[in-house]
Amino acid sequence: MDKKKLSLYGKKILVTGASSGIGRSVAIENASQGASLIITARNRDRLNATLNDLVKITSEHNAICCDLTSKDDLDKLVEVVEPLDGVVLNAGAVKLAPIAFINDLTVNNLFEVNVQSSIRLIQRLVRKKKLNKGASIVFVSSISTQKATIGNAVYNATKGAVNAFVKSLALELAAKQIRANAILPGFVHTSILDNAKMSKEELEAHLKNYPLGRYGKPEDIAYLSTFLLSDKSNWMTGSLINLDGGFSLK
């Protein structure tokens, strides 16, 4: 096979939250499309497990252990990375809290991980000129910004903030031909949801809200990320793309 025909051949791409779930799948799929990956996450063992899978595909990948809520870690990350052709901001946190039981800790934690760390990372990459002309930035947001779910008000607010940031980012960076888009996934079954306190019965009942008859798989998000990172989407910026098996149709 001619590697140069792969859609991400020669592209250097940073993926956050790459040790598990969607981020891990995004890293693996994009490596198989010819990209060279820089993966980050907090958990070193799980991050190295992802790296081991990547190097089985091709050899040019790096793992950098990084707590995105730490400004020092962010500074170090941005310092060591070579200029990038793509970034996938996937790291995120979720916590269920009905309105009456929202507290400052929940608000601060979710906004810190889901919003502020992404803004800080992008700010540093732009300031330090670590994004190549034609680069593509992909945010993993949530369909919950289009269709509300109970107990998720704070999480949904963080993702709404992400969506608004993406639009402004896309506008500001357009002059450099740098694009920014967001994927809005429906329910994807990953370990982050094991903490979401939904029982097996509730999961089965909720499935009837998905016209295509299944929940998302991490690969579903990975495949769209490949398109957004590739030059085939180079007229696409500032878009918020529903990817939800039809959930938002009902």
Binding site: L96, P98, F101, G151, K197, M198, E202
Partner: protein
């Protein structure tokens, strides 16, 4: 302490018309639904700083068992 827990439980589910007993199977209350479920787990998280996983919570039936679970974590 135990009585305060009962009051918090009542307040969370907006129960005003009766007293609760520790032998009650709370999941049979007419007020019990998925929001009540979420709210009780969140109330215990905030008031007692204890996170009860859903897999554990689904095997708890009476208020006594719920109180015992909170005490276990203390």
């Amino acid at each position: 302490m135990k009585e305060i827990f009962l009051e918090l439980f009542k307040e969370t589910l907006d129960i005003e018309d009766r007293t609760l007993n520790f032998t009650d199977v709370f999941k049979e209350y007419e007020e019990w639904d998925s929001i009540a479920n979420l709210s009780i787990i969140a109330m215990i998280d905030i008031e007692y700083e204890i996170v009860i996983e859903n897999s554990v919570f689904k095997n708890i039936n009476t208020l006594e068992e719920l109180w015992d679970k909170i005490q276990e974590h203390k």
